[in-house]
Symmetry: C2
Subunit: 210 residues, 2 copies
Amino acid sequence: MSKVKLTITMSVDGFVAGPGQSPEHPLGVGGEELHGWLVALKAFRESHGGEGGEVNASTPIAEGILGGAGATIMGRGMFGGGPGPWDGSWQGWWGDDPPYHHPVFVLTNHAREPLELQGGTTFHFVTDGIVSALEQARAAAGDQDVSIGGGASVAQQYLAAGLLDELVVSIVPILLGDGARLFENLGDAKLEQIESVEAPGVTHIRYRRA
Amino acid sequence: MSKVKLTITMSVDGFVAGPGQSPEHPLGVGGEELHGWLVALKAFRESHGGEGGEVNASTPIAEGILGGAGATIMGRGMFGGGPGPWDGSWQGWWGDDPPYHHPVFVLTNHAREPLELQGGTTFHFVTDGIVSALEQARAAAGDQDVSIGGGASVAQQYLAAGLLDELVVSIVPILLGDGARLFENLGDAKLEQIESVEAPGVTHIRYRRA
């Protein structure tokens, strides 16, 4: 049975993006810093067409993010292009060959035709909510997992609705002070710790729905 | 050189006590649950005059809390007895033989004579602030460490002032939803991850001031 998974990096004070998110600062002020552990890795660089980088205890976690799913769901903010009706020239942040290589379902209030880019990534725009997006993503993923990409609001909605099977929180020793919190508006969601992994500059904790 | 240390348990959503702290619920609603990992341990039970309990990867962390310091600093709320002028009959939550066995400095706005209990625990009431309390605690601890006991506000004040050398955050898979946050009002405090320890139902992350 395929799982619905979220892997997300959080500052030790609880934020997954800094304050002041905007098209120029999609992760808010200071938010880029959160992913320093990830972009330093060989696994990340190679998936983005680069070379070099480290192999360490974070590598299996990064490989899980980058290669473990057959479909991804993300919010409008994570796909980008600003709020409101679509400017059809916006194709996401990732260039002509995005690192997904599978169908991506973008939650939005504004309909748009599917956008097929290179390397197997097609963005589908879903206007009828998180349950519909999940059904479509499950169908597309087959027996592979469905990855919830973020941001915070999308993650919260799936967690609160009891639709998330597994959650990996990568906690970095950064204090952002303000921004988008991961763990709020969660109703009576319950978690159980499965494992934790110590890695350079980050601790990965894997939870499942309890 | 002796260190100033804080070991504190935090829900994964960032709270070190639940909402509605009161004399009846010193850790707030749901807050008692946070310390389930600790009270299950043999090391904890024996230090509180009980027996039985588990030995696991949390044991060295618990021994660090219980035995590693020569003096403790805590806030008025943690000592208890309600706000305002002292009711001299209040001797803390811990009975005649508190588990500290060393001098404890209680930050308060209300002066009170030192309170000497059994087993080497004397409570000193400090009305002139966190720096004075730390000077007194360092003098009392000699070459042993000084432990910051909590609660959240006291921890924040020492962290923000750059007076905390080491911080162990024990993260439990509990969502409290509301309460007292550890990581806020911290100015530009910076942390560095030293190690993390996976244990049953809890992940301990050790940080130092960066």
